[in-house]
């Protein structure tokens, strides 16, 4: 008891003190900073530039000057290092990347001149890729560093290898649930992703993940390439069993120590590159800014210089492409000044070296949605072979790689950005009902194969829960342990893609069987091993048969009219019919709530208590609710109540010559016995006006209809009576919380307003109305 009393007293005192504090003006910093602290941006940590310690985007303290020495057709020095001092990376680049035939000539071109050529639309891409074969890492880095972010973006768009842009999705989930993987893979395919990539929470589940995504990606259309990111040897085995068609886990690093710490050498990675090709599997390498810094082996060199080394290495290895642009190091790169510009610059080097570029935009570099959108924009509008090298097609928590820049949550934002800029980001909206059909189809196909091959049996509950689930938190499905057993059995039974094709066919999944056969046949010809290859409409397109030929406006990738229509077709788009349909639904309710009676032509009034309320042509005839959703009958009641509270008399007049709020108000005032009137549009925008004022110089304006309440209408009407008595009331303030009302309402506003203006007629006579409120109002 005593304690409780003490606590109560103490709490009261604390509250009083807190209250005092909040009213105190003695704070030692501006409160705006507290507001900033509360924003997600402030979850990002930023780092100071420190070139000695590897924190420099463009100018490391140990970055070398560009240079090359060629003797007897061999590189004898490169970027200030003589051949006998080459580390493994220098040695590999000098041996396999540098073309001695062109090196001296290319290196003699000043970097600023090379930079100008990159942004000169009259210099063809092929001339620049030819020169790049003779350029050293330091020279490539020095040249792109001359460009500002806009120039880099432009040069990237001109230099990327394949003309048609594309995109890649991550398909993973927190339970490694094969049913969900299949369903989500089918969705990724329907959205238009050219490639999908999976990985596992538990390494052992790799075969199960591969089978599930492989089947899911065969639903709906053929040709989506698929990879299962796992341990090198196993990944190749899964590929050889025919489940996967590409790989991008061949990571390279820009310093020898980081490379060796990654347990590889340029030669071992180049061996792997050939190994994938020898099995007919598409392959790209991976590198990105700040990987070396994260691993602790930066050698005081800049992010860009180290990346230039990585990229020359990749070209030297004969990799057709690269996953490049920060990648896992993107958040660290973005913590530095110029870090995001550097990420763009390294991507530019990649395409200058004629590599396919899966341009990062995967590992989310910021908690700020704004920083994320700003970073992706150049790639969206300029195009990229694969804009995101992992767009999270699933929810953030289901992404086993880590959240991407864009995820299942933000997918529609990406679709809208495409629509805004009429830019082809590779994706197309999938209609609701179709999405569910595809998910069910994928789940059924996989469930059949699991049962048919004696791997597992999915229950109806599992299937149904997964079909409608947004993410794995919503599913009632296989336990992770069961997935391990499924995976072991696939590997143990040596199940191949042919077994899966036959099983699908047995189960009546004919299209899926055909789609899978199509995909696996790609490896026989090896056409998709060429630079930037993807499959579109059943055909391999690559930098060979779809080369980027940009040489200025009218060339390069252009959005066709058909594609433009697809980009425009997002969900839930408003049109005039939609507005009228919504109003028709309200009309019946209003018919039971209010009746307007026409009393003929309205003349100027003489009643000294009269406030004329002037309504627009569509008010209660075609439009029945304000933007805030108030029934117009309720608005009329509120106005009437307010006028009567002020001792006035309401007279209702409909104007047919205008639907403009100001003119409705002024016209009402001029008919009013007191000279004060209210004008109101059917969408709820209102004004108090006085007969001697200029049209747009009103007494009070209520422009924010979406947030105007019935109480506000009542107070407005009351104020009109105060003005009528020649007094000055407290103007009614409709408080805003900073809503982007234009974005929320203007499409509807414009449509409603067009409906109203269509009803107006020049010089039409106003009409007196009386209203009867019925029982439902």
């Amino acid at each position: 008891m005593e304690l409780a009393l003490f606590v109560a007293q103490w709490t009261m005192r604390a509250e009083r003190e807190l209250e005092g504090m909040s009213q105190s003006y003695d704070a030692n910093r501006w409160k705006r900073v507290d507001d900033w602290d509360a924003r997600t941006l402030r979850l990002d940590r930023f780092a100071v530039e420190d070139p000695e310690n590897g924190f420099s985007a463009f100018s490391g303290s140990a970055d070398p000057s560009p240079g090359v020495g060629i003797k007897a057709g061999k590189v004898v020095s490169m970027d200030g290092v003589p051949a006998e001092e080459f580390d493994l990376i220098d040695a590999f680049i000098a041996t396999y990347h540098i073309d001695p035939e062109i090196a001296e000539k290319a290196m003699a071109i000043p970097s600023v001149e090379l930079a100008r050529m990159l942004v000169d639309m009259n210099v063809p891409r092929t001339e620049l890729t030819r020169l790049a074969r003779g350029l050293t890492p330091a020279k490539l880095a020095e040249a792109v560093a001359q460009l500002n972010a806009m120039e880099i973006a432009f040069a990237y768009s001109k230099m990327r290898a394949r003309q048609t842009p594309g995109n890649q999705a991550h398909v993973t989930n927190a339970k490694d649930d094969p049913l969900q993987l299949a369903a989500d893979a089918a969705i990724a395919v329907a959205l238009g992703f050219d490639e999908i990539e999976t990985t596992m929470r538990v390494a052992r589940n790799s075969w199960s993940n591969a089978l599930a995504c492989c089947i899911g990606s065969a639903v709906g259309r053929a040709g989506t390439l698929f990879q299962c990111s796992s341990e090198e040897a196993e990944e190749l085995e899964i590929g050889m069993a025919g489940f996967t068609s590409y790989a991008e886990t061949v990571s390279v690093y820009g310093t020898e120590s980081a490379f060796i710490d990654g347990d590889d050498t340029p030669w071992s990675k180049a061996w792997l590159a050939a190994a994938y090709a020898s099995r007919g599997i598409k392959m790209r390498c991976t590198s990105g800014a700040a990987a070396e810094l994260l691993m602790g082996f930066h050698e005081a060199k800049s992010l860009l210089y180290l990346e230039a080394r990585c990229l020359c290495l990749q070209r030297g290895m004969g990799s057709q492409g690269t996953q490049n642009g920060g990648i896992d190091g993107a958040p660290l790169a973005a913590s530095m000044p110029g870090g995001v510009r550097e990420i763009m610059a390294e991507n530019l080097i990649a395409v200058w070296l004629d590599l396919e570029c899966a341009s990062g935009n995967d590992a989310r570099h910021s908690e700020s949605d704004m920083r994320v959108a700003a970073k992706v924009l150049p790639y969206l509008i300029g195009g990229s072979d694969l804009i995101c090298s992992g767009f999270g097609s699933i929810l953030k928590y289901d992404n086993s790689f880590n959240p991407s820049s864009f995820n299942g949550e933000e997918l529609e934002e990406f679709l809208v950005l495409q629509r805004d800029f009429e830019a082809d980001g590779g994706l197309t909206a999938v209609e609701d009902a179709r999405a569910l059909d595809l998910r069910r189809r994928a789940i059924d196909a996989l469930s059949h194969v699991l049962k048919d091959l004696g791997l597992a049996e999915a229950t109806e509950v599992m299937k149904r829960s997964v079909a409608v689930a947004s993410g794995s938190n919503d599913t009632d499905t296989f336990a992770t342990r069961d997935v391990g057993l499924i995976s072991d059995k696939i590997a143990g039974d040596r199940v191949s893609v042919l077994d899966v094709i036959r099983s699908l066919h047995r189960g009546g999944f004919f299209d899926e069987a055909e789609n899978l056969l199509f995909l696996v046949k790609l490896r026989v010809s090896g056409d998709y091993l060429q630079t930037s290859a993807v499959v579109r409409d059943g055909r391999v397109i690559s930098a060979i048969n779809d080369p980027n030929n940009y040489t200025g406006p009218g060339t390069g990738h252009r959005v066709s009219e058909a594609r433009r229509q697809e980009l425009a077709a997002i969900r839930d788009v408003l049109d005039r019919d939609e507005v009228l349909r919504a109003e028709a639904a309200s009309e019946m309710g209003e018919a039971k709530a209010i009746r307007y009676h026409s009393m003929g032509a309205a003349d100027p009034g003489t009643d000294p208590t009269e406030i004329v309320v002037g309504v627009s042509p569509g008010f209660g005839t075609k439009i029945f609710r304000t933007l805030a959703g108030h029934r117009l009958s309720a608005v009329q009641r509120a106005l009437k109540a307010g006028i009567e509270r002020g001792g006035g008399t309401m007279r209702l007049v409909r104007f047919w010559h205008t639907a403009d709020t100001s003119f409705l108000g002024l016209s009402a005032a001029r008919l009013s016995g007191t000279g004060v009137g209210i004008g109101i549009q059917s969408k709820g925008t209102a004004v108090i006006h006085q007969k001697d004022r200029r049209p747009h110089n009103n007494l009070e304006l209520f422009s924010n209809a979406p947030i105007t309440t019935l109480e506000h209408y009542e107070m407005m009407a009351f104020n009109a009576t105060v003005y009528a008595r020649g007094k000055l009331p407290d103007p009614v303030v409709v408080p805003t919380q900073g809503e982007a009302l234009g974005a929320r309402f203007h499409a509807r506003v414009a449509l409603i307003y067009a409906i109203e203006t269509d009803m107006t007629e020049d010089g039409a006579t106003p009409e007196d109305l009386t209203i009867t409120f019925l029982k439902d109002s």
């Binding site: 890729t129 190994a275 004969g318 055909e514 026989v524 090896g526």
Partner: protein
């Protein structure tokens, strides 16, 4: 014709010559049908790329100035006939500290040249061995 290197005009070869492109047992791409799969006539070997297809892809990449990619395809053409275990064993040996000395890499190179008909891969391993020695990569790491 067979001696004329392919160019970008011959690409994609699956479209321009579906009867000439074959899997590893000589079955033409055009004969890899669903019926054949269902009847059990097709094995994974039939879906395996051949050295010839890889050489053709090398010719195509060379024709558009991608010499390094072409070289990778040429190495891959040699590797296509090497058993998987062997490919992975050599990969393992190329990783840092796996080979105890230059000789073990040179032994592999010799085998590639003499037994596996893979002179480009042999050169590649010999080159690696030279640089590994220069950089002291023959130390055990774990």
């Amino acid at each position: 014709m067979a001696d004329t290197p392919l160019t970008a005009r011959d690409y994609p070869i699956a479209e321009t010559s579906p009867d000439d492109v074959t899997g590893n047992r000589g079955k033409a791409l055009s004969s890899l049908t669903m019926e054949a799969v269902l009847s059990g006539d097709i094995s994974m070997e039939d879906l395996r790329i051949t050295p010839r297809a890889l050489e053709q892809q090398a010719e195509i990449s060379k024709s558009v100035g991608r010499s390094t990619l072409a070289k990778n395809f040429e190495r891959a053409a040699e590797m296509a006939q090497i058993p998987q275990d062997e490919v992975m064993a050599i990969y393992e040996l190329l990783r840092p500290g796996r080979a105890a000395s230059k000789d073990s890499l040179l032994d592999v190179a010799q085998k590639l040249r003499d037994e596996l008909n893979a002179p480009l891969l042999a050169d590649f391993i010999e080159e690696a061995s030279r640089f590994y020695e220069m950089r002291g990569l023959f130390q055990k790491r774990y």
